[in-house]
């Protein structure tokens, strides 16, 4: 077997530009999906512990539905079946949107990761002692105020380390968007492979870019953790 390594496919034009374009799309998908995941995840996670049963039921159903179905299946469902669920007219209009696969990827990744964030939130709530809740309520705060001003900020600071993992995972999961034709980093490395047959180099290049991206995220989250950790709770 003779395989000639040609690492120049990583910077030679147009391939180098492809990788950068792919990286940019990966970052955009990851960040936008993370905004959805974090905000929706906090809400769903909180609903799971509120005293109102219908809301609790809805939140558990959401979490179990999205975390028990493989992400790839969810992505295919939203992309191919999603628009059809909305009826002929609306579905047809949706299918006309240019870049629909990109929006679907962000949406699907966001709501999928939200279910995971929600579970971390629940763990965060559980780790706060019962007496804390009682103390807050005894000051005269309403349920809403209690969660908004005390419990949620408290829980978020406790679960920062697992949230870092989720934030990292969202960038890695964004590579699955390739299967519906989103030209993100993995897609571009495969495209270089198809054009040049130097897939080994292209994939290795993509691997290092993901690694750098991940390490950057870890750095940023490490900074946030050190700023917001509750002394004595994490990072002893």
């Amino acid at each position: 077997m003779a395989y000639n390594f040609d690492w120049s496919v990583l910077w030679r034009q147009p391939y180098g530009m492809w990788l950068l374009q792919g990286l940019w799309l990966t970052i955009k998908i990851g960040l936008l999906a993370w905004i959805i995941a974090l905000s929706l995840g906090i809400v769903i996670g909180t609903l799971r512990v509120t005293p109102w049963k219908p809301l609790r039921f809805f939140a558990s159903a959401y979490t179990e539905l999205f975390r028990n179905v493989p992400f790839l299946v969810q992505l295919f469902f939203w992309y191919y079946a999603g628009p059809m669920l909305l009826g002929d007219r609306l579905g047809h209009a949706l299918n006309q949107i240019i870049g629909l696969n990109y929006y679907v990827a962000i949406f699907a990744l966001g709501i999928y990761t939200a279910s995971r964030v929600a579970e971390h939130m629940r763990a965060g709530f559980a780790s706060i002692g019962r007496e804390q809740y009682q103390a807050v309520l005894s000051t005269g705060m309403t349920q809403y105020q209690m969660y908004r001003y005390v419990i949620i900020p408290y829980a978020l600071r406790i679960i920062l380390p697992p949230l870092t993992t989720e934030f990292l995972t969202i960038f890695k999961n964004s590579s699955i968007a390739m299967t519906i034709g989103v030209a993100e980093l993995t897609f571009m490395s495969y495209r270089i492979d198809a054009e040049t047959f130097h897939g080994l180099e292209a994939t290795t290049g993509a691997m290092f870019i993901y690694l750098l991206l991940g390490l950057t995220v870890v750095r940023i989250m490490g900074f946030i953790e050190s700023r917001f950790k509750i002394p004595g709770m994490i990072g002893r």
Partner: protein, 298 residues
């Protein structure tokens, strides 16, 4: 520092796996030793190589050719040579041959000079052309009718490259080029209205159309944008094995088995009727070089 070390270790691990054992020796010797030939088939290249849901196995014209190849190999080595089927995609078919996972890919791969750089090809056994599948009531008849429409093609195919090239050169102006993973997904995108036209080889498009619940709703357009000669992929610089594959094709043409298989898959009563053009028939007849009985012997 600690982190740097961790990175080095992970990189070292990757290369340890990448440096998988490289086998030496020719493909024929390997087949004789193991009694098996590893063949890559596609899952949705109708009628050449696809998975029949009824039997859950690969079937098709090229799959039957693979059986002839295995038969001849059995005759050469005087023992039964078994086919080990692997499923390949447009993306994996060449790397899998190059890295030795499979010995040959038998499907519907277009012979291109670019691909010839990394792998070898058997002789050309079929001709197709890149064109589009559209809804019959869409009114798309010429390339210019596709201006402002959404066009799809599968990743890593010559068809996608042809569509992208035409769009880049300004020969037509599609609204968007949507990339799918497989041909059945392309058909799904077409049916759900995500794209207005799906592009691949005419023979494969006819296959997708025939497998649809309403074949009469779709049609391939009357023009073509690229020419696609099919051949089988074998490893670079292994002429003994390549000769054996070529001899099998020539032998099949000479004995008429090739035409029987053509009739079975692409004849009027076949899975995808594709009339054999006079030019194609002449090509096959003229390609046949004198081949003696018992050519498979060592």
């Amino acid at each position: 520092m600690k982190k740097l070390f961790a990175i080095f270790v992970s990189v070292a691990l990757v290369f340890a796996f990448a440096a998988a054992p490289v086998f030496a020796g020719g493909t024929l010797e390997k087949i004789e030793k193991t009694g098996k030939i590893k063949i890559g088939f596609r899952e949705g290249s109708i009628p050449f190589a696809y998975v029949d849901p009824k039997v859950g196995k690969h079937v098709g014209f090229s799959v039957d050719m693979a059986k002839l190849l295995a038969e001849n190999l059995s005759k050469r080595f005087g023992k039964k040579i078994e086919i080990v089927p692997y499923t390949v995609t447009p993306k994996t078919r060449i790397p899998m041959v190059v890295n030795g996972t499979i010995d040959i890919e038998m499907g519907s791969t277009t012979y291109t000079q670019k691909r010839e750089d990394v792998a070898d090809f058997s002789m050309i056994f079929f001709f197709s052309e890149t064109t589009f599948l559209v809804a019959k009531d869409s009114g798309i008849k010429t390339l210019q009718d596709l201006n402002g429409k959404k066009v799809g093609a599968a990743r890593g195919t010559t068809n996608l490259r042809a569509v992208e090239k035409l769009a880049k050169e300004g020969k037509f102006k599609p609204k968007a080029i949507i990339v799918t993973e497989t041909h059945p997904q392309g058909m799904l995108a077409l049916k759900t209205g995500k794209i207005d036209a799906y592009s691949t080889d005419r023979s494969l498009l006819e296959g997708l159309r025939m497998k649809d619940d309403h074949p009469e709703k779709w049609m391939t357009v009357p023009f073509a944008i690229a020419y696609e000669p099919y051949a089988y992929i074998v490893r670079e610089n292994d002429s003994d094995f390549r000769d054996f594959v070529n001899n099998t094709i020539i032998w099949a043409i000479k004995t008429g088995k090739f035409f029987e298989l053509y009739e079975k898959w692409m004849g009027p009563k076949g899975v995808v009727p594709i009339p054999m053009s006079q030019a194609y028939k002449s090509y096959l007849e003229m390609m046949v070089y004198p081949i003696s009985d018992g050519w498979w012997k060592k």
